[in-house]
């Protein structure tokens, strides 16, 4: 067999992936690649009140060593770390990880962690902003953080500026806001607002100003994320608990690009690094082993056969010229826990 025929055979084989396992029992969920694809953060939820956050070093789609667990300062006692939460990871452009965390029964706060370089540190102290802090989102230049605090009893979006160390409210409103995300220039924030029973999307200048409506409708329009000038989000407008993925190119505009998707535990729609593709799993049981990747304009969809069950929560990265897909899935029908997998999908997009 020649080397050339070996390469041809390898290219024709299905893209089997690596499984990333940890000793902790629970559902692996919410994988998020670091910006350079060298690390993969994910949660393990035991559904008994503890959500552990792990980071695995990655090399060519394979885990390197044992994943590091993000232990909160003081969260471990002689009684263990039961009840602590580390969740909703997102990566800072400079490399470290941000996430929501709380000790058992404690307040949810935002943490900043450089895996392998010590313990996570609380990003903002209670003197700066009180309440449960959630939904951290950092501006593309890494200087401004948007997040949600329930200090007033409802969700309000706040902005923290690295240069001034000052926290300010992005806007005042009687509503509950959530899930802020910056656009590529950092000048705008898109977010969801609980409005007349359902969530609608709004945009506000990150420097301050009045929010303007982007997309409304029946059900929830939620977890928005910018893709260039478009906003990609989940929508349950069709009802029956079904979620679709829609794209808005401007106020009042909405185009469905994927129907009946599996709603991730926490994540926004997963975009490819170039922002041109949206990855998702399906709620349709017969296609549950596939991860679908659809162009933002809806013009093309690719199916990735994971050969697993109930695949979902995808995350895509590019590293060393290759494209990798992380996702969670059950190893088989009736399995107890979802597990985390990585597949090399180079050349598929």
């Amino acid at each position: 067999m020649t080397a050339l025929s070996c390469i041809a055979l390898a290219a024709a084989l299905p893209a089997f992936g690596a499984e990333i396992s940890v000793a902790a029992k629970g559902h692996a969920s919410n994988p998020v690649w670091s910006t350079d694809g060298s690390m993969l953060a994910f949660e393990v939820n035991d559904y008994s009140g503890t959500i552990a956050l792990f980071v695995s070093k990655m090399s060519n789609g394979n885990p390197v060593g044992t994943p590091s667990k993000g232990e909160l300062p003081g969260a471990t006692s002689q009684f263990g770390s039961s009840g602590s939460v580390g969740a909703n990871p997102s990566w800072h452009p400079d490399g470290p990880l941000m996430f929501e965390g709380s000790s058992a029964g404690g307040t949810m706060r935002l943490y900043f962690w450089q895996p392998g370089a010590g313990m996570p540190a609380e990003l903002l102290n209670s003197g700066q902003i009180s309440g449960d802090l959630t939904w951290p989102a950092v501006s593309p230049d890494g200087t401004v953080l948007a997040f949600v605090s329930d200090a007033t009893g409802k969700g309000d979006i706040y902005i923290w500026d690295r240069a001034t160390n000052a926290v300010r409210q992005a806007m005042t409103s009687p509503f509950t806001e959530a899930a802020p995300r910056f656009n590529s220039g950092g000048g705008k924030l898109v977010f969801s607002r609980k409005n007349q029973g359902g969530e609608d999307l709004f945009v506000v200048p990150s420097a301050g100003g009045q929010p303007s409506p982007l997309v409304g409708g029946n059900g929830d329009q939620t977890r928005p994320v910018y893709s260039g000038g478009n906003v990609v989000f989940f929508t349950s407008e069709r009802g029956d608990g079904k979620f679709d993925i829609a794209v808005s190119s401007g106020p009042g505009k909405k185009k469905l690009v994927a129907k009946n998707v599996r709603l991730p535990v926490r994540a926004s729609p997963a975009l490819s690094p170039d922002g041109q593709w949206i990855a998702y799993g399906t709620a349709a049981a017969e296609a549950g082993g596939y991860i679908f990747i659809t162009k933002v304009d809806g013009s093309q969809t690719i199916k990735i056969n994971t050969q697993l069950v109930a695949a979902g929560e995808p995350s895509i990265t590019q590293s060393n010229g290759r494209t990798f897909l992380a996702f969670t899935a059950l190893p088989g029908e009736g399995a107890d826990w979802r597990r985390l997998h990585v597949m090399d999908i180079t050349g598929k997009l």
Binding site: G74, F79, F112, G116, A117, G118, L124, R162, A163
Partner: protein
């Protein structure tokens, strides 16, 4: 008559005292270790820090801290913003038990932080606020900077670690480089002293160690054997010994260059009770005279000083004017009396322990000194333990 049995418990207690001391220290260690864990679980980091420092004290009593104990110290120092303490405690934990994770943390600190030694003269009147060119996003790095800012603001000095990058303290710019344990020294001198300006690199300036030098303490002098002779206005006719006395000097230290100054000091040396030995061929033994005034001398001392932080070593020549009045009871056996001048030398080791109250840029501490002053006919070796006030180095 006391029964022997009554003494047995006492004897047993005395015999077991060292073991009891060790077990008491161990028990205290166990208590502190539990307290540390309890406080850490409540995020009471100042309490964790205090408990950890107490545990460190127990190491003097041969208690061995576990790597986990040091790691609680690491957590506390992290929360309190002292990265240098984090660094040294990680090293201490690794000294107990090497771990790849700790080694990675140590390397991460070395790759991210650099040593600094910031020092603002107490008489400096300008702005000396510490500011980074860019405040980092990382809360641990921010806390390290904020801790240094508070220290500089309240104590006018900071010796520790800062995130690598460019900073200003007042109008002086400096750079903190990672992967270097050699501190970036920045010193802000009072304008009237014309302190050395920072170099173009902006990160090296030198505190000019200048100021009052006072030594006050007990001294022990001896008088060596001498030939019977007349020297100056004195008559030396005895071999002699001497006893405890005092030595007090006041002077000034002048800055020369980084690490060196010149000490100028004058003072009194003497006061001990004189005694003489007969100088007959038989050396009939010491003959003490309670009315003796002993030796009183006044000296001058010019000596270079080498210093580093709180340690200073001063060594140089002395010149003394000596008044001796140590008569023997039996004058036929000889006496030492009169006045003479003597050259000599003195060596002093000083260690500063605390800032001198009410005196700017001054440290107080202990010194040990020794020397000799000698005439043509006899020598006076001496040694001293003194309370010393010296300039801050």
């Amino acid at each position: 008559m006391m029964r022997l049995s009554r003494l047995l418990p006492v004897a047993a207690l005395v015999a077991s005292a060292p073991a009891w001391g060790a077990s008491a220290a161990e028990a205290e260690y166990v208590r502190l270790a539990e307290e540390t864990r309890r406080l850490a679980s409540r995020n009471a980091w100042r309490g964790v820090e205090a408990s950890y420092l107490k545990m460190l004290e127990l190491e003097k009593k041969d208690v061995k801290l576990a790597a986990d104990d040091h790691m609680f110290g690491v957590q506390a120092a992290t929360q309190l913003g002292s990265i240098f303490d984090v660094y040294t405690r990680l090293l201490a934990a690794n000294a107990v038990e090497v771990s790849a994770e700790r080694t990675a943390q140590i390397k991460a600190i070395e790759a991210t932080y650099g040593r600094v030694d910031l020092d603002v003269n107490d008489k400096f009147e300008g702005n000396f606020a510490l500011k980074p060119a860019t405040m980092p996003f990382d809360p641990t790095q921010r806390k390290a900077i904020e801790t240094a800012q508070r220290r500089v603001d309240s104590e006018r000095k900071f010796n520790g670690m800062l995130p690598q990058g460019n900073y200003t303290i007042g109008d002086t710019a400096f750079t903190v480089a990672a992967n270097s344990l050699e501190p970036a020294h920045v010193y802000l001198a009072p304008a009237k002293r014309g302190g050395k300006k920072p170099s173009d690199g902006g990160n090296v300036a030198v505190r000019e160690r200048t100021g009052l030098r006072v030594d006050l303490g007990a001294q022990w002098s001896t008088m060596g054997a001498a030939e019977i002779t007349t020297e100056g206005s004195s008559t030396v006719s005895s071999a002699a010994e001497a006893a405890l006395g005092g030595r007090a000097g006041v002077g000034y230290e002048l800055f020369l260059t980084d690490g060196w100054c010149l000490a100028l000091q004058g003072g009194w040396h003497g006061g001990f009770a004189g005694s003489t030995e007969g100088n007959s061929d038989a050396f009939a033994g010491p003959v003490r005279d309670e009315s003796s005034l002993g030796i009183q001398s006044f000296y001058g001392w010019v000596a270079p000083t080498w210093y580093r932080d709180d340690l200073a070593v001063t060594f140089g020549p002395t010149y003394s004017y000596v008044i001796v009045n140590a008569p023997a009871e039996d004058t036929t056996l000889g006496a030492l009396s009169g006045r003479l001048t003597a050259g000599g030398g003195a060596l002093s080791l000083f260690y500063g322990l605390f800032d001198t109250p009410g005196l700017a840029n001054s440290r107080s501490g202990l010194s040990v000194a020794g020397g000799v002053f000698a005439s043509r006919s006899m020598s006076f070796p001496w040694a001293q333990v003194a309370f010393t006030v010296a300039p801050e180095g």
